[in-house]
């Protein structure tokens, strides 16, 4: 299995999903070798961890900076300036291709029955491994360039994605929503696509102590707290969140909107909040994880994920696991699996505000959404996701034997 990032040094959902799936597969008895591009300390799952390049080990902080496939060229230039001693390729693509060049060696050593590669960053590595070993290739689509940037034919990432999907023997997508995108925009045969929703494990719940200090006083005084968790990029829809906040505040001034995340739209969002005259009711916490994020979930009356295009969206599952009810956009994969969530079109500000206000207004609604949603989420273990993947592996191996 080829991944790009892994906890604890992940920058986004891809690392978490890889970690969960690896753990689930091992639990289900799969002999799993998990490959990462470079060496750095990772969380244990029971899988054999392999590193394509062992010669340039990272320490934690650097790994984190490197990890994300979502960094842009500018960020990469910055990183290269920061760490000249590391042999970064001249671009992110070069890193991806370097990974691919080193991949056959690892593959030949571990003799896989099936190769499984996550997202475009690992597709070239997966293809190279397939060529070297003859094992069938499964590519796992967690996100597409279509979600991040809209469709742009000349984008080289598109070409890598397209090639990965077409060379794959089978494709897994994290939702029907994503399946539709790859069928419609990447000309993929729908018959070779299986939807495998992401999972979450109950032990991923963050345990935090009771509410303290100012937050408790605010809550006792009747303030409602609404949470946004995600990168501040166009794809995540923070601007829609703000417009809905404005509308809610017009009727319910005792409400705080907490934005946890950073990204290229941060400046713009702060300015917009000021322009709307709600700057004092919108709090920016920056990127939060683990305990701090857990505390935010516990404080919040609800979490909103207004994504414009979201292949899956793990954050609502985390929120529910921590007892916080959620509103999710209908343009997300998680909306397909989660029944006990409120759902809105990301552009429907009025309805988003209506639902936010209603949850704040009615404790019974909050409670029912949290209880029923929590129950639902606890049933979505990664081991179940792993079982779905294994069914696909078995079919591929069998068809290979029959040829």
């Amino acid at each position: 299995m080829y991944g790009w990032e892994f906890p604890p040094h992940n920058s986004g959902g891809l690392g978490i999903a890889c970690y969960g799936l690896a753990k689930g597969l091992v639990q289900e008895g799969v002999d799993l070798s998990f490959v990462l591009p470079r060496k750095y300390p990772v969380s244990q799952t029971g899988a054999h961890m392999l590193f394509a390049d062992e010669s340039n080990p990272f320490d934690g902080e650097e790994a984190e900076l490197f990890a994300s496939g979502y960094i842009n060229e500018e960020r990469l230039k910055f990183l290269r300036g920061q760490y000249p001693e590391l042999q970064y390729g001249p671009s992110l693509y070069d890193e991806v291709l370097r990974y691919a060049a080193l991949s056959p060696l690892v593959a030949l050593r571990s003799r896989p029955d099936v190769i499984h590669a996550h997202d475009w960053l690992c597709y070239p590595a997966g293809i190279a491994a397939k060529r070297a070993t003859g094992a069938p290739l499964v590519v796992h689509v967690h996100a597409t360039e279509f979600d991040r940037a809209g469709f742009n034919q000349t984008n080289p990432i598109n070409d890598i994605e397209r090639r990965g999907m077409h060379e794959a023997d089978h494709i897994l997508t994290v939702s029907e929503y994503t399946k539709n995108i790859i069928v419609n925009y990447y000309d993929v045969d729908p018959n070779k696509v299986t939807v495998v929703y992401n999972g979450i494990d109950s032990d991923d719940k963050v345990v935090v102590s009771a509410l303290e200090g100012d937050m408790k006083r605010l809550k006792d005084a009747g303030w409602g707290i609404v949470l946004f968790v995600g990168r501040l990029t166009m794809q995540k829809g923070p601007d829609y969140f703000l417009e809905a906040a404005k509308k809610v505040l017009s009727r319910r001034p005792q409400t705080l909107f907490v934005i946890a995340g950073s990204g290229d739209m941060e400046r713009q969002i702060i300015d917009r909040a000021a322009f709307l005259g709600i700057g004092d009711k919108v709090i920016f916490t920056g990127f939060k994880r683990d305990k701090e994020l857990g505390r935010l979930y516990q404080v919040a009356d609800l979490m909103v994920m207004p994504s414009v295009s979201e292949p899956f969206g793990l954050v609502p599952l985390e929120a529910l696991l921590n007892g916080t009810p959620v509103i999710v956009s209908k343009q997300s994969g998680v909306a397909e699996v989660l029944r006990n969530a409120l759902k809105v079109d990301f552009w429907d500000i009025d309805e988003m505000a209506n639902k936010i206000a209603s949850v704040l207004e009615h404790p019974s609604l909050r409670e029912t959404l949290a209880t029923e949603g929590g129950r639902e989420v606890r049933a979505q273990a990664w081991s179940k996701v792993a079982q779905r993947c294994m069914m696909v592996y078995k079919k591929l191996v069998k068809s290979l034997l029959h040829v």
Partner: protein, 422 residues
């Protein structure tokens, strides 16, 4: 000797439109969804009228003409009747033709098909009176047998209804009420041998209402002849077979292409082939057969789901909260003296509003097992509570004079006025 007692429930709620938090205080029309949605009441009424009520009534009228022995009973909620008047008056006429045969009994119920009995006996009795008046007005008959919303029954409900002068009422033939006894006899209420009960034969009723088109059922396809044989088998085993079901079974739940109308058309002749079989209405059954025993129901029993209890309407927190908020408003609404506020409050007493908030089935992945015009139980709750909050504002501010005048003219007059305006 087996007498079939057919009873059909006809009911349509006034579904609340997608009423948002920000509409509170500005929009006082709750039930006027005009979009292509299942909360558009006019649209639903016309659809169900054409698919179910009109064709089913035509079949029944035919049966009544061919078979002088054939009889059925209906209960038609007041809120359904007034919507027929507004959106599909031909349905009223077709029911009138049935009642005019003299062999179709109309039962009593609460006008709004409500859960008013839960907290407010006064409101319950008032709604029963309103319904009786409406039935008298449209059909010229006075109901003598009562059936409560969704066949919900408990000892104290029977007591209230007996006090109002009814002969008896209908209830679910739930196993835990009957124990070893059979539903094919007339029973009476606890401590009141004069107040009689008919209990639904759920096995045979559900064979028609739920299993009729189920191809996985070993008895599929169900023909009228086969059904008549099952009825024959009850000979010597009781007096009356109570087949109680939603009237929408015919054409709406079971579509025409399942053969449900042909089944209904052929059934009387097949049943009457056996000389000992007959048909009765509830009032006739009560006057013909004596009670064989007492039914004690200290807890609520309904005809809903496997549980046969109230959990479809009051199990989760949002349902309890909505019911609490609804009943809390009663005194304010009644003190306001505004008839349109009272009328809208009563429209919110209809059981369906709470049913749509049920998350019970939602958990099993069995989302399609029941019908909900809202995207989820939560949407139903949000719209309901927003409307209730607007109603509270109206009740506190008192009657809006201009509005009341408009409300006081009939829907027909309103149509004419609208036509003149445009």
């Amino acid at each position: 000797m087996s007498a079939i007692c057919f009873y059909f429930q006809v009911h349509q709620p006034r579904r609340i439109k997608r009423y948002q938090f920000f509409d509170i205080g500005t929009d006082h029309e709750y039930f006027n969804d005009a979009a292509e949605l299942d909360t558009n009441n006019a649209r639903v009424l016309r659809k169900v009228a054409n698919k179910s009520y009109l064709p089913a009534n035509a079949v029944l009228l035919e049966n009544l003409r061919y078979h002088p022995e054939f009889k059925v009973a209906f209960s038609i909620s007041g809120i359904a009747l007034e919507q027929f008047e507004e959106y599909a008056p031909e349905v009223i006429e077709s029911f009138q033709r049935l009642v005019d045969t003299g062999r179709v009994e109309i039962l009593s119920e609460t006008y709004y098909h409500s859960l008013s009995f839960l907290e407010s006996p006064d409101e319950f009795r008032e709604q029963v009176r309103m319904h009786a008046q409406k039935v008298k007005e449209l059909f010229g008959v006075k109901p003598t047998v009562f059936r409560n919303t969704e066949l919900i029954y408990r000892n104290d409900i029977a007591e209230m209804v007996a006090d109002m002068g009814y002969l008896g009422m209908l209830a679910e033939g739930a196993d835990h009420l009957l124990d070893w006894r059979k539903p094919t006899f007339v029973y009476h209420a606890k401590n009141d041998p004069t107040f009689k009960l008919l209990l639904k034969h759920y096995k045979l009723s559900d064979d028609i209402a739920f299993r009729f088109s189920n191809k996985g059922w070993e008895e599929w396809p169900l023909t009228a002849g086969k059904f008549a044989k099952w009825v024959d088998a009850h000979n010597g085993d009781g007096h009356v077979i109570n087949l109680f079901m939603d009237y929408e079974t015919f054409g709406e739940h079971q579509w025409e292409d399942t053969g449900i109308f042909n089944f209904l058309r052929a059934m009387p002749a097949e049943v009457l082939k056996h000389p000992d079989n007959s048909f009765v209405t509830p009032t006739e059954a009560f006057s013909t057969y004596g009670s064989v025993g007492e039914i004690d129901a200290p807890n609520y029993v309904s005809w809903a789901d496997m549980e046969r209890d109230l959990s479809a309407w009051m199990s989760n927190s949002i349902q309890h909260d909505a019911l609490r908020a609804f009943f809390e408003l009663e005194s304010v609404v009644k003190k306001s003296g505004d008839p349109s506020v009272l009328r809208d409050w009563r429209r919110l007493s209809t059981s369906d509003h709470f049913y749509y908030m049920c998350t019970k089935w939602f958990q099993d992945g069995d989302v399609h097992a029941y019908f909900n015009p809202y995207e989820s139980p939560y949407e139903a709750f949000i719209a309901y509570m927003n409307v209730l909050n607007d109603l509270r504002l109206r009740a506190h501010t008192g009657p809006d004079k201009k509005r009341s005048v408009w409300e006081s003219v009939s829907y027909k007059a309103r149509g004419v006025l609208q036509a003149i305006k445009s």
